[in-house]
């Protein structure tokens, strides 16, 4: 596939290459990590959000998550910190739209208080989410540039 480049806002910058994991609909953080938060699963992160047709039952651990925004319970930030503590949180969060208050609280606190960086870029544009598909090679650069393909 032809390489496409997108420029976003690097809120928690970093450099990373890997495969994209895509949720075309907003990602419900709390609903996705129930098995990690409440069922003692610690070596993977099976997505438990049955409303998410892209990710339900897929292992979302250590992923490069590409989505529009996050949604759901105000526990979302704490949930993210919890899975990051287990070592099964995302490696990067790439948002096509503006970051929201709930996930940002978790991402920033995890970065500052637990010194675990989850690379975070927002405002990549709706075209980014239209272009990227699960399994696509993806390269993230420090300046917020994301290459897909």
């Amino acid at each position: 596939m032809a390489k496409k480049t997108f420029k976003g806002r690097p809120l928690l910058p970093g450099k990373l290459e890997g495969e994209a994991l895509v949720s075309k609909q907003p990602f419900n953080t709390t609903a996705s990590y129930f098995d990690n938060m409440f069922a003692g699963v610690t070596d993977s992160a099976p997505c438990t959000d049955s409303d998410n047709k892209d990710l339900f039952r897929k292992d979302i651990s250590n992923c490069i998550m590409c989505t529009s925004q996050t949604i759901g319970s105000t526990f979302g930030g704490a949930a993210l910190m919890g899975v990051a503590e287990m070592g099964v949180g995302p490696r990067a969060m790439l948002f096509s739209r503006h970051i929201d208050s709930i996930i940002s609280a978790g991402l920033f606190m995890e970065d500052i208080w637990n010194e675990k960086r989850i690379i975070t870029i927002d405002l990549l544009g709706d075209e980014f989410l239209e272009a990227v598909n699960t399994g696509d090679p993806i390269a993230i650069h420090e300046d917020g540039t994301v290459e897909v393909g």
Binding site: K7, G8, R9, L11, Q25, P26, N28, T30, A31, F34, D35, N36, M37, F38, A39, G40, V41, T42, D43, S44, P46, T48, D49, D51, S68, Q69, I71, G72, S73, T74, F75, G76, G77, A78, A79, M81, G82, A84, E85, R97, H98, I99, D100, S101, I102, S104, A105, G106, F108, M109, E110, I112, W113, N114, D122, L123, L124, G144
Partner: protein, 531 residues
Amino acid sequence: MKRRKFVKTVTLSTLLPAGLSIPAGNVLAGSSPDGGKGAFRPTVEGPSGGSQPAGKAPDWVRSLRDSDMDGLGPDGKPVPGYSATGTGHARKNVDPAKPHQMELTREEQDILDGKQGEAKAKVMKTVVMFGNAFGATKLVDLGGAPHSSVFNAPPFMKSIIDVFSQCADEGLKSYAPFTVNPRPFDLYNVETQPDEMAMVFEGYPLQPQLDYTLMRIGARGMNSRSCACYLSEIGNAPPPETYVAWAESSAVNFGNSVLGLRTNRYAGGMELLCALIGKAPYFGLMTDEGRMATWLIDVRTTKAPDWGVLGAAIGMKVVEDVPFIVGVDQYFGGEVTKENMHLLKAMGSSTAANGAVGLYHVENVTPDAKKLGRKLLAKNYKTYVVDDAEIQRIYDNYPNLWSKKDGKPTRCFIGCPHNTYQEIYNWGTMVTEELKRRGQDKVKVPMHLFCSIPVRNHLLDEHPVLVRDMKRAGMNFTNMCALMFTGLKGFTEKENAVTNSNKARKYSSSRYFPDDILLEIVMTGEIPKNV
């Protein structure tokens, strides 16, 4: 997959700081509404009781699935193009190529540089980073007192609790004693049976740690626990235009709109970080520009609207924009009073739960609207007309989420957010008089009245005989969070709840009914045929 035992090995006593026991509730004739013989018996599996099958999340976490900003429409499906920052302020035209940096004072920079300790530097860094992400221009000093929604402690809350324990260890404290949302359980009046208690202890093993940590950083006592912190009995109602950093969507919504406070919507402990430095990022609903209304809501109902459904209609329409509501001022007589404030509480909390509304204006009623009138309408505002047909359309679309669709109601939940004095007085009078009229002794559906302990005590002081009659009639007072109760394991399978709260409807399987129908339901134990 590796599995850990879910909380099995954690005993409550090991989590308690020395000298502490489980905090005692303020008990009023403590008993479950049915004397402990009711239908609610959560499934208990495993020898320790309450542990779920290995590797499967327990049923009671279902209530955590949805909350504000779930991006779902009335049909439960994702709304195409849904977008909300959750701060109550939809940001547009942000240039990702231009990093934003707010201005800091010398003192703030010193704190950031660690001159007042490592923990305070981390607090400042987190708050500044958060503010920069949302375009804040500066930090402002906070007044009044904070309100926090960090209120329940399942195991995954450990990281958050650790953050605030570290702050407490370094002696950081909120700039003023703060209020906190209700606890997620009530072992004295609701979960009184061993199997129910097991679920509480195993579901919230870190609760004592959290309560202890909150106390260390400045939380007020247990009797002030309420999501309706602004009621006079609790007293967290700062003067208009005070800058605060509140969490709890319904409190933010009421504080901004009815009290005239200036706060954005916070979540995940960010409100407590702001409290620890006494400052918050200045953006969104704190600013004059951010408080301008981009929607005119023209209410044309032929009688007082169903306030919960009206709020739902507005929330789903505007998501997190600011609405200016006209056509309802006649129901308030020009003033928000202790007698009518619950109408705005019901409507506002519903806008916050069904959308992500952090501020609304009501013409001739709320303080900003009284001061500025329709000058609050932004250029190119949009209009949404709500009439009787629209209210009915929204109401008719509510799904029946009971496990047995044609089952009989087993619980009635009144008040989410927590009831005002006027509400519990109204319900007490309404139910006891109707029972008398029908020659009945008790309601046929146990009723839970969710309110803070001071509000309940207020009723006890003013109308002790009524409180006695309410208890005898099967009306149970509790200061817990209604939503956490409906999320308990086994609840959905065994209970058919009805409620007067559109917020509770949104976040649980409870069915929503107007007050007159609810009264009929609790009297007869049946859902009326024509509903």
